[in-house]
């Protein structure tokens, strides 16, 4: 198992979440998070940030643009 300092650990969070660490590194991150309050709080906030980003305000193509595109598709490719 690898040992990490706090500043090393926070740099690895994205790689950890992407499962891009080797097993000894992964174990080291888990062990550190289990006993370091600062890093584990940072880690939870990092995850909460990702959740928040994945829930953006709704967004829609304006209806006139959508209509125009449907007509373009129809004209170009008569079914």
């Amino acid at each position: 198992m690898k040992r990490f300092t706090c500043d090393e650990l926070v740099d690895l969070i994205t790689a950890y979440l992407d499962d891009a660490l080797d097993p000894t590194e992964r174990e080291g991150v888990r062990a550190h998070l289990a006993c370091c309050q600062g890093c584990s709080r940072y880690f939870e906030q990092f995850r909460a940030t990702i959740v928040a980003l994945g829930d953006p305000p709704p967004e829609k193509l304006p209806i006139d643009v959508r209509d125009r595109l449907m007509s373009a598709f129809r004209e170009r490719r008569p079914s």
Binding site: V10, R41, Y42, L53, G54, V65, R66, R76
Partner: protein, 212 residues
């Protein structure tokens, strides 16, 4: 007429065959599934909502015109998102809002600001303050309205990577394919962007004051 409401899209083979055959329901399903994300991607490069809408419209016209030549070397989704990225980039350059992509090779570098190194060497001198609980859901609804403005503060390459990954939910493979960057580069840009966004959210929660 088929409906894709609720379910996901069918496989690429089915999509491509349907589009080539002029299947309007399929085209409508793609429009309604991907246009949202395409608008957000376009907005990473251009200056107004109107420009973003035009970029998305031009992208779909290119898809209509190009579907017969689509060779399936990438997925339909990454093909379409590559088109929107390229068109938006060009338009952004024209608007002089952004510099050419190559000018941003360094923007994952030293410009990320005060949150780039959250922990001083030697450990937390000042551990992060608690956020309102439950972290997650409450947070998501509270900051939803701030996301667009927060993303706009990021350097361009960080912004497009975090938009594709965390806002649109693309996989890292898809992002690498869409932007033609390496997995390592993608991860660095994504991590720096997340560090910056977390830092800004932390500032926000501090500014509105904490219970406890």
């Amino acid at each position: 007429m088929r409906s894709f409401a609720g379910g996901g899209l069918p496989s690429d083979d089915v999509i491509v065959r349907a589009l080539r055959a002029g299947d309007e329901a399929m085209f409508a399903a793609l429009l309604d599934t991907w246009s949202r994300g395409m608008l957000r991607v376009a907005r990473s490069y251009v200056s107004t909502d109107h420009s973003a809408e035009e970029v998305v419209q031009d992208t779909w016209l290119a898809v209509i015109g190009g579907i017969d030549g689509f060779e399936g070397r990438s997925s339909v989704k990454t093909w379409i998102f590559r088109i929107v990225v390229n068109m938006a980039k060009k338009r952004g350059v024209r608007e002089r809002r952004t510099l050419p992509w190559s000018a941003f090779e360094e923007d994952g570098g030293n410009s990320a600001g005060p949150h780039f190194d959250p922990v001083p060497p030697g450990g937390w001198t000042d551990p992060p303050a608690a956020w309102p609980t439950p972290e997650g859901e409450a947070l998501a609804s509270e900051v939803r309205g701030m996301i667009g403005e927060i993303l706009a503060r990021l350097p361009p390459r960080q912004r497009i990577v975090i938009t594709l990954r965390d806002v649109e939910g693309c996989t890292s493979d898809e992002v690498c394919e869409i932007l033609k960057i390496s997995a390592a580069n993608q991860r660095v840009l994504l991590h720096r962007a997340r560090v910056a966004v977390r830092g800004w959210l932390a500032d926000y929660f501090e500014s509105v004051g904490q219970p406890d």
